[in-house]
Amino acid sequence: MLVVLAGPVCGELTGSYSVVVDGNGTAVVTLVVTGLGTVNVPLPLDVKTPAVRDALYVKVKNGVDVSVDAGGQSTIVYRTSLLTFTNGGSTLFRMELPKFDSANVVLYVPEYAEVLETDPNAAISHVGLSKSIVWTVKPSQYPSVEAEYAVQKGVERPVDDSMLYAVLAVVAALFVTVSASYLILRKSWGG
């Protein structure tokens, strides 16, 4: 009885994650839950209310509990910026998995990304405009999945506006200085 009260029932449930990450690290996560029972889905802290289809849900302290009925398939979609961390030239992706019996995670990174490392080991494929990293794991063994990838410099990188303005200001200042110097020097040479 205590076990039932302490945690959600999560038997015969499988989860299939599709995570699409853009060049800035923002991700749209789609989770399809198949099976029967109640599962706790931890959500990143910047997700207030996920979109849940074909299941009842309640908000809990770490995300949502989702109740999937017999033979059902439920979809949960949310957008988050907290799954990726940029460190130097590479991006680290880490996602905690619910306690499914088995989980399939497909991480779609930009096409121009170079995958450096995955934990646990993952398959890598290239479909359409995306490169994807694929895990099939048992969350009891691997409660989270991680990947590190690098985005090639100069390819679809967002321009830092402040740096652009700074460079423009310096160039403008140099131009004015050189022009003024030239005019003064020409005058002095001419005189």
Partner: protein, 211 residues
């Protein structure tokens, strides 16, 4: 003498422009944030400010709990956040999760019967739940889920009740109408949506699009 004079003028002009650049740097966000962005130094600073300005200790405590329960990488992301939109979303989520935590603790040992939950849902929707399919579904829900759902429907705020009511109505309608269909993911489409900056949601509970 003339060459010295010219050199001095050039140096003076260069110095003036150097001063101009140094003066401009703060406004180019290279040395310090603009006055309106003084607080852009990560979530910790925001929490400190919230605690100081509003005295909302409950918020600060819940935020700290959430941070304690977060893995180190995510914690590092949160404490370095500069995007005010994301920080605002986090603040909203912290408030909601604080309420959920309080509800979980309060309902921990409260047993809600299937009958109680069915009655409150029928009362909320103003209609009979009909066949036994949904009743059977309630029967297989975990105790925690039933307790939390019941508490939201009975003791929740107006917006919580409204949100849950809408969701249950949609859920039952889609079950009854057999609207369910497999979710088809179009990665390139979603990537386009992200770049447009809109919210991706299951509007109408049927498809995703920007709202």
């Amino acid at each position: 003498m003339k060459a010295l004079k010219t050199t001095l003028i050039i140096l003076a002009v260069s110095f003036v422009f150097l001063l101009f650049i140094v003066w401009m740097l703060p406004y180019l966000r290279l040395l310090r944030p603009l006055p309106g962005e003084v607080n852009v130094a990560g979530m910790d600073a925001m929490v400190r400010k919230q605690c100081m300005t509003s005295g909302n200790e409950a918020f600060c405590e819940e935020f700290q709990r959430q941070m304690d329960e977060t893995d180190p990488q995510t914690r590092r992301i949160i404490t370095r956040l500069k995007d005010l939109g994301i920080r605002a979303r986090i603040a909203d989520a912290v408030v909601e999760r604080g309420i959920a935590r309080w509800r979980q603790e309060r309902m921990f040992d409260v047993v809600v019967s299937d009958r109680q939950l069915v009655d409150v849902i029928q009362s909320l929707l103003g209609q009979d739940l009909g066949d036994d399919t949904f009743r059977g579904e309630i029967a297989q829900m975990s105790m925690r889920f039933k307790g939390m759902l019941y508490d939201v429907l009975v003791n929740g705020t107006k917006s919580e009740k409204s949100e849950e009511e809408q969701h249950i109505r949609f859920y039952l309608a889609s079950k009854a109408g057999n609207y369910r269909k497999p979710f088809i993911l179009d990665v390139d489409d979603i990537r386009g949506l992200i770049q447009k900056g809109g919210n991706v949601t299951l509007c109408g509970q049927m498809e995703y699009y920007v709202c």
